[in-house]
Symmetry: C2
Subunit: 364 residues, 2 copies
């Protein structure tokens, strides 16, 4: 069974690791908060499970722990931000703040980022807008694992999109999803459980649909949302492409199959057309369209009406985007965050290597 | 077999019909151009096949042929446009021009529309931005045909998204797709051919997956992109919801199941929370992010690299969004546009009713 860890314990450990590799205090705080938000929301593949991977990227010089993040071009409603090889966990919040400031000024703000790294979960960055009565959007490209419709070659990342929309009394609408049928994490779960995967999730390296949980590991690729042409995978491919273009072609990051890989032992692609990974952040003031109170009340109405949609199965409620993650966060804050044994061992080893304490006594 | 009609013939007929119902000349020109773009691009369900439906909406007072379209609220980068019950075919281009003007001024422009009607194909409006070296976006809500994940009730429209991105020498990247697995048109094709449909397209009114081409007609619903929970239909549901909220909650149109239906004989929903259908248009100047020439060259590079992705089947090229529609347009401009017999008969009847000539001799 999984051992559980308190949020505070994991946050403090993560903070100490980021400080050890040289991040200034404020950056380490933000990075830890963003990273842990993934674990809290039940997207464990993007949380502390990635911490040792970030450290390895730092060891190989691909992550700069003291980046000079700056705006390199802007208009009243847009900016391009150069992440200076910093952690995406801090570059993206910086960029989102720029977008929100522009939205304050001219109604909306849109920031494309280059020279960044993996940014945790897209939902965190989109949700930053909610406090300011804004709609937030976040997306990122990622190293290529996904084949376009009719292709057997990895050309795109899982390229998630997040959109966060505030409501009045109802919890906010928060969509956060990869543009593939499934994220890689689901294949990893099936690998661990020694189970087959559904058709429509992955294909082998010849491009044949596969039910083998190891298909991608063995040279295959993930499939875009839709799965195959019959079920409109060209739409998932179009979505992943739009994310890639907004996040990386617009900013000057490395796009498509040239996106640099997360595992540090994999060499970066040759002749990269840009720098690092890219992100795209957006913020829209609700009152740039209609009075804030009106909008928030109508969102409550929208949400309540959809919650009450006629169910197929009486025992399975119709969900609003964000419901599962919010429920998970609520449980995990109360009962602790479960970690896989392999992740515990990985973090223990990391603690040993960096001389950061991973002491079982304090987990509470 | 289908009889073919020249673009000019169909354009002139359509123009005459719009003039007959009272549209000013300029509006009738734009409306005809937008409507015919659907036929040209092979999306016949959104072209002249809809013309008699628009006329019936005019007869019942739901379409105003002489709308006073105006901006009712704005900031430097945003606006809300009231369509005054005009044809979406002219309200959306007006709104897109507003978005493009704002993009000229402050980098990007975003317009939410209320009190409008069906706007033809989303791709047309998104593509308006290309001439100005801008990225264009267009989306619209529509009358409810689609059930959320875990629901058997029609709550959302097919709610398409279009994104048009310019390139240098390569044809533009133009994505234009409904956020369902398939648009209703595919079910109509199967009905005519008396064929079954694939699983993942539709469900019956109890919420059981269906292969019956008449499932939706008989009280069922279309399924969101993904088809079922196993294949991530919650993502298609999230996308359709985002389109609904941006197009209708943001502007004051009628959202979700309250979106007014296209067929004029179906009464509008009771207690609608807003006015008419809604759209969302956006424009982003490419040089609001990076120098125009750089961006366009990188788009050429992106497109060429993806065209050269390793094919699963040597005889099936990897496509770029927009390829099929462009190929169709090229053929149809040369050889004429094929119309179904039922559509020909419908247009002939319409011509008789409005005293607009539908003369076989002039079809060329």
């Amino acid at each position: 069974m999984h051992e559980k860890y308190s949020y505070d314990f994991l946050y403090d450990f993560t903070l100490a690791v980021f400080r050890k590799i040289g991040c200034p205090q404020e950056h380490a705080n933000i990075a830890s908060k963003v990273l842990l938000s993934a674990d809290l929301r039940g997207i464990d593949s993007h949380g502390v499970a990635r911490l040792s991977g970030y450290v390895r990227l730092w060891e190989t010089g691909r992550i700069n722990p003291r980046p000079q993040i700056k705006i390199v071009h802007e208009t009243p409603s847009t900016a391009v931000v150069d992440g200076d090889r910093g952690l995406g966990l801090i570059v993206a919040p910086y960029a989102m703040k720029v977008a929100m400031q522009k939205a304050e000024n001219v109604g909306t703000g849109w920031v494309s980022v280059k020279n960044s790294n993996h940014f945790g979960i897209a939902g965190y960055h989109a949700m930053m807008a909610l406090d300011q009565d804004m709609i937030g959007m976040a997306m990122t490209n990622a190293s290529a694992l996904v084949a376009p419709t009719f292709s057997a070659e990895r050309m795109l990342g899982t390229n998630p999109i997040a959109v966060a929309i505030p409501a009045k009394s109802q919890p906010a609408f928060v969509a956060d999803f990869a543009t593939t049928t499934v994220a890689n994490g689901k294949l990893e779960v099936a690998q661990r459980k020694k189970q087959d995967i559904s058709l429509g999730w992955a294909q082998d390296k010849e491009g044949n649909p596969s039910t083998d949980a190891f298909a991608v590991k063995e040279g295959g690729s993930l499939l875009p949302l839709g799965g195959d042409r019959e079920h409109a995978s060209h739409k998932g491919y179009a979505l992943g492409s739009i994310v890639d273009i907004f996040s990386a072609v617009l900013s000057g990051a490395s796009y498509g199959p040239w996106a640099p890989p997360f595992p540090a032992y994999i060499p970066v692609p040759q002749n990269m057309p840009g720098q690092g990974l890219g992100h795209f952040l957006g913020a829209m003031r609700v009152d740039a369209f209609r009075p804030k109170e009106e909008f928030l009340e109508h969102m409550d109405n929208w949400i309540k009406r959809f919650r009450n949609a006629r169910r197929t199965d009486e025992n399975q409620p119709v969900l609003i985007p964000g419901d599962p993650e919010r429920a998970m966060e609520s449980v995990y804050m109360k009962e602790g965050i479960p970690l896989l044994q392999s992740v515990e061992e990985d973090l223990q080893k990391l603690g040993d290597k960096l001389e950061v304490e991973w002491d079982k006594k304090d987990k509470g």
